[in-house]
Structures are given as C-alpha cells and as structure tokens.
C-alpha cells in the first residue's frame, strides 16, 4: 500500500490489529487512524485491552496479525527503541523516571548530549534545553537540576510529559497519566497534554476519568474485552452513550 503521495496521510494507521497471548485473545480486530494534532481517548473497563494496544503501538508487543503504518509507511517495530526512533513516545502510569537523578538527566535519559573528544556529558547543554522546555510547557519545578525524588507527583508527571514532548515527532501515548494525582495536579497535567496537540502531535490517551476524556479528546474509542465497540466524535456524543458502550448495558 503506497500512500506517500497522499498529503493527508494519517500519522498512525492501525488496521485489523489482532493480538493473542497463547490461547487468550487480548485484542480481537482493532482499526484506528490518528491525525496530527488530534487527541483520541481509549476507554474501557479493566482488562479491555487498552494497555495491550498501547504496548503494540509502542513496539513492546508485536501484533499477532494486522498492520501498523506511520505516516502511511507500514512498519513493524522489533522493540520499543525502534518505535522511539520513529517519533513515538510513551508516558507511563508509573512514570518511568529515575528518582535519584536530576530532572535534566531524566529528560535526556538514554539519549544524553555529549561533547568533546572523550564523549563527556554536556550537562550545561542538557540543563539549558530542559529549562527552556519546562518553561515553554509551564511545568513548574524548582530547577532542572532538582532531583526527581524531591518533586510532587504532578511535577513528576509534568517532567514525564515534557520528556515525551521533547522527543516525540509524531505520536505520544499516555497510559493513565493522572491516575495517581490530585485535582489541581490533574488540571496541570491536562494542560500539558493539550499543549501536545498545539505542537501538532497525535495523542492517544488511556483514561478512566470520563470527565477528563470529554475535556481533552477529539474522538473517543471504546474497547470491551478486546473488542472494538466503536469510535465517536467527542462533540457528537455524551457520557451516557459512552458508558453504555463500555459496559454493554
């Protein structure tokens, strides 16, 4: 399939994704397209297959069958590193930050800037870029040199999202980014997510909070026990419909 001439090629195209672990079917037949600057929410009960789907898109799991295309180019990621190289970043529920390290080292974790003939860490450069980025995204942290351990949950999630923003060129996946946060912190993180849209990134977000889903998303995709129940435009649906799609009642 060659879509390279198609100007409006979607950033992400999932077609007939099927995933089974041994005999257990986790995802039945899932298809979804995401455009740049679009936020799609993935909702469903526990065990519906949302996290599995995120893992497939981020290269952690390979689909049993079905195709993934990035910018119209069909791809199959061998591992998460390849997905990252294609411009896909993930923000995990449990953060994936190194607590004892400074904010700037986490921002560049695994992709540190170096300088000089001996490959010295360019701490100054990393601190500067981090400070600029957290300022742009309005993540309020004392300094780029602060240790993650000394930050609040919301600040940490802010750092995790800032990191994804920095490195993603196409798509950001968020797996319940506000599950562990208070009200004010959640609002702040939602601002950070909305800022991803302004940067013309595609966003796929898992959330258990329907309020949040309706505040943030352009479209809502419902999963139930591995089956894709449907996709709705957020502006043209309401909570009742989504709830009944989730529960099947």
């Amino acid at each position: 399939m060659d879509l390279s001439n198609n100007q409006a090629a979607d950033v992400l195209q999932l077609k007939n994704i099927h995933k089974a672990f041994g005999g257990v079917v986790a995802i039945e037949d899932f298809s979804l397209n995401l455009k740049a600057g679009e936020i799609v929410a993935l909702v469903g009960d526990n065990g519906a297959g949302k996290s599995t789907l995120i893992k497939i898109v981020s290269g952690v799991h390979a689909p049993t069958s079905g195709t993934i295309a990035i910018d119209g180019q069909q791809t199959s990621f061998k591992d998460a590193t390849e997905a990252r190289a294609s411009g896909i970043e993930v923000v995990y529920q449990d953060l994936a930050l190194a607590d004892e390290q400074a904010v700037y080292m986490n921002m560049f974790l695994g992709r540190e800037k170096t300088k000089g003939p001996f490959g010295q860490l360019d701490r100054k450069g990393m601190v500067q870029e981090t400070e600029q980025l957290v300022k742009e995204l309005d993540v309020r942290i004392p300094s780029a040199k602060t240790t993650i351990r000394n930050l609040s949950g919301g600040q940490r999630q802010g750092v995790a999202i800032a990191r994804a923003t920095h490195w993603a060129t196409k798509l950001v996946l968020l797996d319940e980014p506000t599950a562990a946060l208070g009200v004010a912190e959640t609002a702040k993180v939602e601002e950070n997510v909305a800022a991803l849209k302004e940067r013309n990134l595609a966003v796929l977000i898992i959330s258990h909070s329907l309020d949040q889903v309706f505040r943030l998303s352009d479209r809502i995709c419902v999963l139930r026990r591995g089956q894709q129940i449907g996709v709705r435009e957020t502006a043209k649906t309401d909570k009742n419909e989504i709830v009944s799609m989730i529960t099947g009642v």
């Binding site: 990252r84 994936a96 190194a98 390290q101 974790l109 695994g110 540190e112 170096t114 860490l121």
Partner: protein, 317 residues
C-alpha cells in the same frame, strides 16, 4: 533557628559523613598517637600504599552498587588473579604475566555478569557462589603454596617502584581514581549505570541496554579486582590464596561510607577513595595503639556500624 534546623536536616548528610569521619578519626589518632609515629611522613605514606588495593577494588564496587547489583566475589578474584600472574611470570615475560592477572579478573567478572544479566539470577547469590568457587580455585591452583614473584620489573611496576619519586602504588591509585571518576561521572556509560540502578525499567524503556550495563559493571569490578591482585603480588613479591580474603567487609564499608547507595542509583568514586583511606587509617591507628588483632576487629566493626548507620539514615527516611 527552626529553619536552620530544617535546612540542616534536609542536607544530605550521607554525602559528607565520609569527610567528617575521616577528619575525626585523623584528629583522634593525631592527638592520641602523635608521639607514637602516626604523624610521621613515613607512616602516612604507608597508609596510602597499603590502601591502594582497597581503593582499586572500591572503584569497581561503586560501579556495581550504583547499577543496583552487588559483587561479593572480588576478594576471591584478587587471589586467583595474583596467583595466575605469579605463576605465569615464572616462565613468561612481564606483559604476559600482567595480562594473565587482569584477564582472569575480567573473565570472572564477565562470567558473573552473564549469569546476572542473562539468566536474571540475583547478583548477591551469583557472586556469593563464585566467591566460594574461586576461593576454592585459588587454594587448589598451587596446593595452598605461595608463589614468589621474582620478576623485577613487575615488582617495580606494581609494588616498590616509583616514577619521578612518586611510588607506583600511589600512581595506580591516582590513575584508577581519575579514570574511574571520569567514566562514572562524565560519560554516557556512567549515566546509564546510575539509571539502571535507580530504575531498571525506566532505563530499559528509554533505550538503555540494561543487561549490557549489568555485564559491564561486573566485568569492570572483576578487572579492577585483578589489578588489586597484581598490586598485592607486587608489594609482597609473592602471591598467596589468602590475598584479598579479608577485604570484602573493608571495601564494602569504604564504598557505603563514601556515599554510594546499597540499593543503586547513587555513587561517588571520590567518596569511595576517601572511605578507603579512612579504613586504612583506622587499621593503621588501631595497630599503633597496640590493640590485639581480635580487639582491632571489634573496634573496626563498631566504627563501620556507626558510619554505615549514619550514611544510610536519610536514605531510610
């Protein structure tokens, strides 16, 4: 006043324990043993010379602990490496003997690393086993006999020699500390070691090859234990299966007191150096005080206990 107290409490005490402890112990011995030769230049130099193998091992252990692993086998590696080197030097030239010692250290460390990284066995158990295994190998290699080292250039290089008036053991210490500090603190590899020990999953998802890091740190530790073995063999002009046998506690204490976290993600080479010197000074002072060997062990144990308790206090909070 209260805010001062709070600031004091927020100060990461463990980072400075080693320097304060070093000064206190130095002052104590300077006052009590001032007339017994503690402060003579010869004695102070001697402390540094005796500490050299400890410092070298401590550098390796910083990498291992910072990566969230542990190595208990380095003491046995010291003996096997020293004996290998001494035996090979009996028939072959200098560089073959050096390669034998270092190679054996690197190989055992690599073996530890493969078991830990790819079979996912806990490093505590792997290195506990290899500690016993290679202690046995060291004993059987020469049937408990010690092997003299007669190669003069080897003895000069790793023992009693000097360059521009600086004893070779001091040069090895400075070189290893400088290189270790640079790699640990200034390179990507050092950052990846810390990230692996801090949060292996986070390191993994950001593309750091966590198993490679685990193999590397244990290999580095083995290689440095090999070097420590050469230094012992050079200084004593002989190798024996007992070399390194009693260094396990000393090195671990030096590293922890120096400010490296037992649970990974934090470490300092300079702290480990000062910790090692502190342990060496303690050893030296207790001997000069005329304590019997058993009393020395007790006092040293108590002091290590206090220092480790202070070092770990704020980690537990």
């Amino acid at each position: 006043m209260q805010s001062t107290m709070q600031k004091l409490r927020q100060l990461n005490l463990s980072q400075y324990v080693v320097y304060i402890g070093f000064l206190l112990i130095f002052l104590f011995f300077a006052v009590t043993l001032g007339n017994d030769g503690f402060l003579t230049q010869r004695n102070l130099t001697n402390i540094i010379l005796q500490t050299a193998p400890i410092t070298i091992m401590a550098i390796g252990l910083v990498f291992v602990l910072a990566a969230g692993e542990i190595d208990l086998s380095f003491g046995s590696i010291v003996a096997v490496a020293a004996l290998s080197s001494a035996v090979v030097l009996g028939e072959y030239p200098l560089f073959v003997g050096v390669l034998a010692g270092l190679g054996v250290g690197l190989a055992i460390g690599f073996f530890n690393g493969i078991l830990v990284a790819y079979l996912r066995l806990p490093s505590f158990l792997v290195t506990l086993a290899t500690m016993g295994l290679f202690a046995g190998v060291a004993r059987s290699m020469t049937n408990l006999r010690s092997v003299p080292v007669l190669n003069e250039s080897f003895v000069n290089m790793f023992g009693s020699g000097a360059l521009f008036g600086v004893p070779s053991l001091v040069l090895w210490t400075i070189g290893a500390v400088a290189l270790g500090h640079f790699v640990f603190r200034e390179t990507k590899f050092g950052a990846h070691v810390l990230a692996t020990g801090d949060n292996a999953r986070a390191a993994q998802v950001t593309g750091i090859k966590v198993p490679h890091i685990r193999v590397w740190v244990l290999t580095i530790c083995g290689g440095l234990a090999g070097l420590a073995g050469l230094l012992y063999a050079g200084r004593l002009q002989a190798a024996r299966y007992t070399l390194g046998e009693s260094d396990l506690m000393t090195v671990i204490a030096a590293v922890i007191i120096g400010g490296t976290a037992l649970k990974g993600g934090k470490g300092t080479i300079i702290g480990a150096l000062v910790g090692s010197l502190m342990m060496g000074m303690l050893n030296n002072g207790l001997i000069l005080m005329g304590l019997s060997v058993s009393d020395q062990m007790i006092v040293r144990g108590v002091i290590i206990l206090i220092a480790v308790a202070i070092s770990l206090r704020d980690v537990n909070n």
